[in-house]
């Protein structure tokens, strides 16, 4: 008797059942399987619930019992703001969120801060699976995810043995771009790339660092560029490659400046993202360089801003990438373990690429 009145503790399924004089199962059924009990009793259960302030079955307890969390975890790159500032990342997020919504699943952004090596957040995440987007391959959070016994899809990541993967063919995509520039006659080039590891190196990149880059996408693109230009006789070791930790247009500006200071004779500046390329365009303008007459600038991603600027770039279907990742994860099909989805890319020859200026072309002489 002290029980019912004294009950300042929040109502529970059991207390409701006790109050009603029915079993817990019946109360549970009132919420989850209305067809399992008479409408009249159900009405009484729901009404009593309202009266006692019972808010319905506890989601966590339900998850424990059913072994379903109803959510997908998203682990993304170290800097959270990056993800929301880069239109390509936002597009990915949108696609993933749409796929989750279609499946009625939540999307949990896992707080994987870079400073705090807080792998615990990965352990704490109550999710049925993970999507890992563009993290360095030596990230401890990634390792923690792989230890969790849930399905995982990685994006823009090297192939892992145990998990599904979605991405593009970075090598062929950027090779197409390189070929475009080579056909235009460029052979003296510079490169601006995103960060290659978890350490900050806002400077030139050694060949060794290029080779051992921990961001798969950047590593692949640089290697493919090196191969492509080596194929036409360019000594890659002489090509200035500059790295930027922060992924902003300001970084693109300063990186372009650094490359142009090192070698003012370059005729083309290849950037591994549109954001960086847009910054490079600004820097070119600041120096009075006409694009593309004096300098060709290219990007990568195909974000709307790039389109508006007429940037020569490689378009990748970012939204589709997110959606594919979500679908892959949520597809209950008995999948023959590691599935791969590779999406198509498209070379966009914009207004920022053209033949190199005459002086440089002479090199190829008559």
């Amino acid at each position: 008797m002290a029980r019912s009145t004294n009950a300042r503790r929040p109502a529970t399924l059991a207390s409701l059942a006790a109050e009603l004089g029915v079993s817990r199962t019946t109360v549970s059924n009132a919420y989850n399987r209305p067809d399992q009990l008479s409408p009249e009793l159900r009405r009484r259960v729901l009404e009593t619930a309202r009266r006692l302030g019972y808010p319905g079955p506890d989601p966590v307890a339900r998850s424990l019992r059913t072994r379903k969390a109803g959510a997908v975890g998203l682990l993304l790159t170290e800097n959270l703001s990056y993800a929301f500032r880069d239109p390509a990342a936002v597009g990915f997020l949108e696609g993933l969120a749409l796929a989750c919504e279609d499946a009625g699943q939540g999307l949990l952004l896992v707080p994987a801060s870079p400073e705090r090596e807080d792998v615990a957040a990965v352990h704490r995440a109550g999710v049925d699976g993970f999507v890992v987007y563009s993290v360095p391959d030596d990230d401890p959070h990634l390792a923690a995810v792989l230890e969790r016994p849930v399905p995982t899809v990685v994006c823009d990541q090297p192939e892992l043995e145990t998990v599904d993967r979605v991405g593009i063919d970075d090598r062929s995509a950027i090779t197409g771009l390189a070929r475009h520039l080579i056909e235009l006659g460029h052979h003296r080039i510079g490169v601006v790339c995103m960060r290659l590891g978890r350490d900050r190196n806002d400077d030139f990149v050694t060949l060794e660092r290029q080779r051992s880059a921990h961001f798969h996408v950047q590593r692949t693109r640089l290697a493919a560029l090196a191969d492509a230009f080596a194929g036409v006789g360019v000594d890659w070791a002489t090509v200035p490659v500059v790295e930027r930790f922060d992924h902003t247009t300001a970084s693109g500006e300063s990186a372009a400046a650094q490359v142009l200071d090192r070698d003012p004779e370059i005729t083309a500046l290849i950037c591994t993202s549109d954001i960086l390329a847009l910054g490079a365009l600004t820097e070119a303008g600041r120096r009075g360089l006409r694009v593309p007459q004096d300098l060709t600038v290219t990007g990568f991603d195909g974000i709307p801003e790039a389109d508006r600027a007429g940037l020569t770039t490689v378009r990748q279907p970012v939204l589709e990438k997110g959606r594919a990742a979500g679908r892959l994860l949520l597809d209950n099909a008995e999948h023959g373990r590691p599935r791969k989805v590779t999406l198509d890319t498209e070379l966009i020859a914009g207004r920022t690429s053209g033949a190199p200026r005459a002086a440089a072309q002479i090199w190829y002489g008559p």
Copy 2:
């Protein structure tokens, strides 16, 4: 004996303890309170865990016991894509995500699809609190959130009795904008606003619909505009107000066209968001209207694109709004129930507002 070998069931804290011949508590402590057991035993526990493939304490079971989910739920407007296409919404999201990350909390996007009246998703969300961003005040999802016994913060929402609120002073913000236009001499105006309810009405808006709009922000802004212009003798009933369900620049274009078709004599077009205003600028250009000589166009939000376009608008600190919402929710302070945070806004007088063309000004004649 059949037990240990036959155990194809995944390892659990209990099975680990049994294997080691220690209590569950000790295994638990090995993970959560390393100081509570000898280093040697801890090492043995962890090693055995690895050997048995025990992935560490189950997050859901832990949540059930500790009554902490370690995540915040975000309920946002009906169309998910909207949230990722509108820079203002993305900014909010970024701020919120940052606040969550600071607190080591996850951020769960609740799949509240508009079609499916799937309130169940709200019930299923294992979170310690909710942030509700810009949903109509009659949204069933909002009602479901309010029934959950967890703290909640609403954004851009009318004040609710039981929950915290963060937002701006929409009335005074847009009144400042109206005053700016009035001072310039505008009295014949048109308005383009975002959707006012859950139903689609891509058309003119009756006074009644304006009054009963379910989106608090839009309702407030329209009412404030009406008051401001009524104050200088404008009969608000004659002011064309056009609504658009989709929040895109294309909507802005067509809405502007609709207003200008109805009344080509207007000298100013007030849009309740920058996205709509940017579309309106496009439409104005298409009609050969010079801005601001022939037509003044204003927006709201202060997104980067608006800045680039020199749009006259009201800047609101979207990132701060998200961050404030997160902080409010995660602040464990014993808060005297409903707390309010109202952020400052700033009128940005850009290049898209100016004095009305001569013909219209005559109305004020000497």
